[in-house]
Symmetry: C2
Subunit: 349 residues, 2 copies
Amino acid sequence: MRSRSWIVLTDGFTTARNAKTAHGVLRYARDPVVAVLDRDHAGSSMRDVMPALGSDAPVVGELRDAVRLGGTSLLLGVATPGGWIPEHWRSWLLEAVDAGLEIANGLHRFLADDGEVVERAAGSGARLWDVRQPPDDLPLFSGRSLKVSQKTVLTVGSDCAVGKMTASLEIAAAAAAAGVRGEFVATGQTGIMIAGKGIAVDRVISDFLAGSAETLVCEADPSSEVLFVEGQGSLWHPAYAGVTLGLLHGSAPHALVLCHQAGRTAIEEPPYTVLPSLTDMRRSYEEAAATVRPAQVTCVAVNCRGLDDAQAAKAIEEIEDELELPAADVFRGGGPKLWEAVAAAIDQR
Amino acid sequence: MRSRSWIVLTDGFTTARNAKTAHGVLRYARDPVVAVLDRDHAGSSMRDVMPALGSDAPVVGELRDAVRLGGTSLLLGVATPGGWIPEHWRSWLLEAVDAGLEIANGLHRFLADDGEVVERAAGSGARLWDVRQPPDDLPLFSGRSLKVSQKTVLTVGSDCAVGKMTASLEIAAAAAAAGVRGEFVATGQTGIMIAGKGIAVDRVISDFLAGSAETLVCEADPSSEVLFVEGQGSLWHPAYAGVTLGLLHGSAPHALVLCHQAGRTAIEEPPYTVLPSLTDMRRSYEEAAATVRPAQVTCVAVNCRGLDDAQAAKAIEEIEDELELPAADVFRGGGPKLWEAVAAAIDQR
């Protein structure tokens, strides 16, 4: 396969919260981002537009400028209202298709269902990649994931949107910095675009959910030593707890990282179910994991969003005291500390 | 809608174990079975062929004989090798389609994917009902199921194939005999054919699993007093535990019935995970339920398959002693005893 260079289409949404897939790619993607396509910020650098992302990608106002910079793949990474591309994006989309670029679509609606796009892609040879569409030949869970040679580390959460993907990525980065060959295993659309592969497990038919997680683990690079599997949902989020449990069983982890936002006491979506104590969450995850393989919560990734440094340090200390486990905020440089705890548990120091 | 009368097609499989959907329909279906289609047993009654089913349906060798008896719906209820209809069934299938019968298909492959069947059904007006195909407009879980007027009773199991559907049906029958307006809520293909409606929750995209269970509960007959929801899988069956948990959360039960096969100590499919004690199972199900609504295990449905009556009585007594809960085998008349326990818990006596 030719190498991939991203053109990130965020026109009109570049700094918006619903561009979080694009932001994740700008921050973490395995493949380089050669340009962001946004007329409002054209001519500047992402370093100026959103310094926190740590990306120097230039912002351009025309697709052809991005192609000239070497872009091979157009990334649709904004959770747009209605789940489909805004009308003013369509001419760029078709231009990219006609130019034979790869189109990576993280939206809920699929390119494969858009007749005009499909037809023009057939003519140009453009690859249409609906990132959320799972493969159609997934197996049932069989226990193969218990036999992989790598050690598997899964992030599990108190709720959605507490930073499970980021924790997996930052701990993987710390492992890499320590000389360990790790692989980030993606289970959601942002993670898949970051990794360049993966399965959106929440889109899989329920019967094949654990089988899809198992497939991901079994198909990881056999030369890797540690797999950092991106967790999903929470056992206490009633809309998604089934996904969480299927992923936990299917991936058969050796170690868990508990992810939590400091101060969160209830699920943030209806019906706002109340969270148990962190001690009880830890026990529940460990009990559920033990069905397939004993795995302990080795540390806590504490998302301290909205707290100042002193407040964050206090929140982390309280959690360390409650659980007698290392805790840190990966958004504030805590990755290496958590990797230390994980490494000790899986004998990879 | 016109009323439905079943023609059960089991030719070559009538007494086989993989005809269990057909057997369930013969035993429990809401709509009458006017005939079984099987050339080997043509001319006899199901009373003679399989007395345990309690059905007097005649067995016929030709589809037209079944139609003459008033059959309106052809039921494909055998888990055939390969998941699709045997070649020698096809002429009956097409004859039924051309005659404008409803075709109810419980197989894994769908009639909607069979071009010839679809085309001929369009011509005759035959309804093609792929029972395992979920509706395509399912919502996410929102908590609506917490507000239904009925009391909801869910069967939960130690493993697959321990009798959860039968327990729900037999307890519902006991409730009906006691004058309570109950509704059996079907979540798998056999149950759906029995009830005439339902959703195969294991075929739903994982994201919408809890939402599909919630939809079932919210769309039950509002004049009913108690909903008996058919459980699926087991929290300890790693291939399906996600389905079990999503159904538990989505249906938001008021009471649980724990279903177990006497003597089973491990899941019967690979990787044969070991079952915890019944006491631990009860605690795990109650803890998981409590996320959305507190619900207690009110009794135990003990499947005593393979045991003689003395052995069964002993197995049931041991379970009653361990859990200090009523236990009974619904396959041996235990439905009323279990309904008593459920009724006490939900104040429906």
